[in-house]
């Protein structure tokens, strides 16, 4: 090969690099390992994590995933393919994404879905940017952001939109119900507001008055962005049905539909909207069309919105979607079907009711809010939550999320969750452990 190139030595191929800039040996990188060695290392690292029983949610949830889901997803044809730029050689991925988009529009009750975003938090940030582009009646670039929205979602949104002179206005929650205060919202009536965000169930697990908020917003020319958990949509009202006409944008994290907890990712963000907003949508979108012979096929479409065509005028800089996780999710939804998802979601709700009932009977533990909740709830403790959770961890129970950092006004409080994975025995064991710890 060197001969064909006309050089004697491989180093000659790097002769255009100024010689004094060439790197020394990368002494800070260890020497290579073979597969036996790396397997030993990684098994040892994985074994350092105790297998605890998980009552922690807060945006990432342990659910059952059929064995078939990741078996098929990690087939080389899905795993090692790239973005479907050559449509004829990518019909598998393209059709799958079209099916995914169809499932997400069915779950959310929205008109269209894109091929996915990075995660739920960054999807919310993109939804905010999209609302600013889409609400032509508003000039303020002001977004109402209730504090019942996931704290990390709010922070991520702040990071991503801060360069574009967008103001995120906090809206307080009602102390008794732990839901967005309608009074606080209505104080904004008459102001020029671009969009309002509503999370359902909210970060505390409570159910928001989504119909009232949606209608109030639309009466005031405010676009509505819903942040939803897609599994709960098997039971809860679809954002497309909120209020009289439904929301404008629905987004969230797809993790509950087939992605393992996996230390925080990869998950995927989903984004759906009304037909009216489709040209403001960021990210890839797959459309169905026909080939030269009139046969059905699938392509990336509306690419004129995207960075590789419009460069500095694109709707977003995003190019990738989370294709592989979307693949898993599409298979997951197909195997469970709406009925399977409904049962899983209902079991989450029932287990959490049972958990809260047992835990709140313990002296020193009480419910904080009086709202209906779905599969998470806030409990007040007679001791600091950090201490209690650490003591539970010693008993191999991942007991919940310490709220004192993000919500100091709640005092000693934690957020608990019991998905369909938790058994009655595990829930009782948690109650016994908490009783010991709190005593």
């Amino acid at each position: 090969m060197l001969q064909a190139i006309g050089v004697n030595d491989i180093s000659a191929l790097f002769e255009e690099i100024p010689a004094h800039l060439l790197a020394d040996e990368l002494s800070g990188v260890p020497t290579g390992m073979n597969e036996m060695e790396i397997s030993r290392l990684m098994r040892a690292r994985a074994a350092q994590h105790p297998q605890s029983v998980c009552f922690l949610g807060a945006g990432a949830y342990e659910h059952h995933i059929p064995a078939a889901v990741w078996e098929i997803t990690t087939r080389g044809e899905f795993y090692s393919a790239y973005t479907p730029y050559q449509a004829e050689a990518s019909q598998g991925t393209l059709q799958l994404v079209y099916e995914y988009q169809s499932m997400m529009t069915a779950l959310t009750g929205m008109d269209v879905s894109n091929a996915s975003m990075y995660d739920g938090a960054s999807a919310l940030a993109e939804a905010v940017l999209m609302a600013v582009r889409g609400n032509r009646k508003s000039k303020s670039r002001k977004i109402l952001m209730p504090t019942t929205v996931h704290p990390a979602y709010r922070k991520t949104t702040q990071t991503i939109v801060q360069g574009q002179h967008i103001e995120l206005v906090e809206v307080a929650y009602d102390q008794a119900s732990g839901t967005t205060s309608l009074d606080a919202l209505k104080q904004q009536a008459g102001e020029d507001i671009t969009a309002v965000v509503i999370q359902q169930p909210n970060f505390f697990g409570n159910l928001e008055a989504v119909d009232e908020i949606t209608d109030w917003a639309h009466e005031n020319n405010i676009l509505v962005i819903a942040v939803v958990n897609p599994l709960t949509l098997a039971i809860l009202k679809a954002p497309g049905d909120w209020g009289v006409v439904g929301v404008d944008i629905a987004c969230g994290d797809g993790q509950p539909l087939g992605a393992p907890l996996s230390a925080g990712g990869p998950y995927y963000g989903f984004m759906c909207c009304t037909d009216a907003l489709v040209r403001q949508m960021p990210g890839r979108i797959v459309g169905r069309t026909v080939d030269q012979d009139g046969k059905e096929g699938f392509v990336l479409t509306l690419q004129a919105r995207e960075q590789h065509i419009r460069r500095s005028k694109a709707t977003s800089n995003i190019c990738t979607n989370q294709g592989l996780v979307v693949t898993a999710s599409t298979i997951h939804m197909s195997i469970l079907g709406a009925r399977g998802l409904e049962r899983a979601a209902a079991a989450c709700h029932a287990n959490t009711l049972s958990l809260v009932k047992q835990l709140s009977q313990i002296e020193g533990v009480s419910c904080v809010f009086d709202s209906t909740y779905f599969h998470e709830a806030v409990l007040k403790l007679s001791k600091p939550a950090g201490e209690v959770l650490a003591a539970l961890m010693d008993k191999n129970i991942l007991g919940g999320y310490d709220l004192s950092g993000s919500y100091p006004e709640l005092g000693n409080a934690m957020l608990v969750c019991a998905t369909e994975m938790r058994t009655d025995e595990e829930i009782s064991a948690y109650a016994n452990a908490l009783a010991e710890v709190i005593a």
Partner: protein, 484 residues
Amino acid sequence: MLIFEHSRTGRNGAPQSPKQKASVDDIPASLLRKNRAVLPEVSEMQAVRHFTRLSQKNFSIDTHFYPLGSCTMKYNPRACNTLAMLPGFLTRHPMAPAQQSQGFLACMYELQSMLCEATGMAAFSLAPMAGAQGEFAGVAMIEAYHKSRGDDARKEILVPNAAHGTNPATATMCGFSVKEIPTLDNGDVDLDALKKAVGPQTAGLMLTNPSTLGVFERQIETIAKVVHQAGGLLYYDGANLNAILGKIRPGDMGFDVIHSNLHKTFSTPHGGGGPGAGAVGVAKRLMPFLPLPVVDKEGENYRWLTEKDLPQTIGRLSAFMGNAGVLLRAYIYMRMLGREGMVRVAEFATLNANYMMAEAKRRGFELAIPDRRASHEFIITLKNEARDLHVTAMDFAKRLLDFGYHAPTTYFPLLVPECLLIEPTETEAKEVLDGFLDAMLQIREEAKTDPDLVKGAPYTLPVKRLDEVRAARQLDLAWKGVEN
């Protein structure tokens, strides 16, 4: 056939969900779903068969040569997947306490360190979930840096016109205006134009080196000096890091901030379009602005840095830890390569590209930049074929599919007419490279004798050329239950 068209009412993978539907009677009716969502109603086996068959309609690295320029479609070692999916990693909740996550955190800390060493940067954050998000983080840090010095007038980002579209799109997202710098015919940046463009308004320059034209920017030291003297910072787009891994480090070239596409250089799977990972690295003066989370080591313990540790951070980019599972795969790959393997990556990727370039020339194809060394990729321009035979780069690309080769990147970079950007990567054998070039030659022969054959391609795939205009005009983005 769509998965929905296999549906029969009531069918599903019953063993995959709780046996009974629990009551939800305590939830007010007004908050409940009105109608059951229309999802597929199929058995588990039907789903498995449907999606297995769909997978077989894809080209992929595991099945085909995939010389997609600027995308680094190298082999993804299977061990990376198997080991990243060990239950100890998969079941770890992202908010589990650091004390319970030391194995995972050790991997992340060492990944940060190896990236610093390989790129010559002072610190790394693994937070960005893709290259574009890495770019966003990098440019946001440039903005934060200038702002922290009260240097508010720097509102412009310079970008060579050969750059990826994400560069200008990112600069806009961060609130900057964009000025394009022309590129010379030899592939280097037009230095005179750069010198004229810089000034007190310059926040920074975004550069890919080797560039998207597949050549090393020889004036890099002068460019760095010009930008730095004007008070701007230098951003390295790591899309082409594979070409120089272990050979020359962006930090030594004078770059202040870089992102590395771990799904390219460090072989995490492309997954049909993601998830990627776009780790971002900085020189010392930008360290206070790194996005969270960052992993630190105190004594023998690993922990996350928080806003308290990095009060000037640009903030969070995701709800949790970016694409953690992707990061694990990159870590495993880097440990298997080791320092000696990293240099080999650059050497063999460059060898393969230069061999293909020489052999393409020998077969009579015109090179876009004939007098330069290729980096890990090179460009053929088919402008003569388009003019004389009326067969375009797109026609060549589609016909290549019939020969069992994924097409190279077409019509990028935008500067070169009728171009194919070809990146073979280090993991392909000589026979494969020869086979691809023979196919190119044969297609050119076909173009001379039977151009319609080439223009009608592909013939051997599940579909023929698709009507993209119709797709965009008669939008059909979701199955709505009623077939046309």
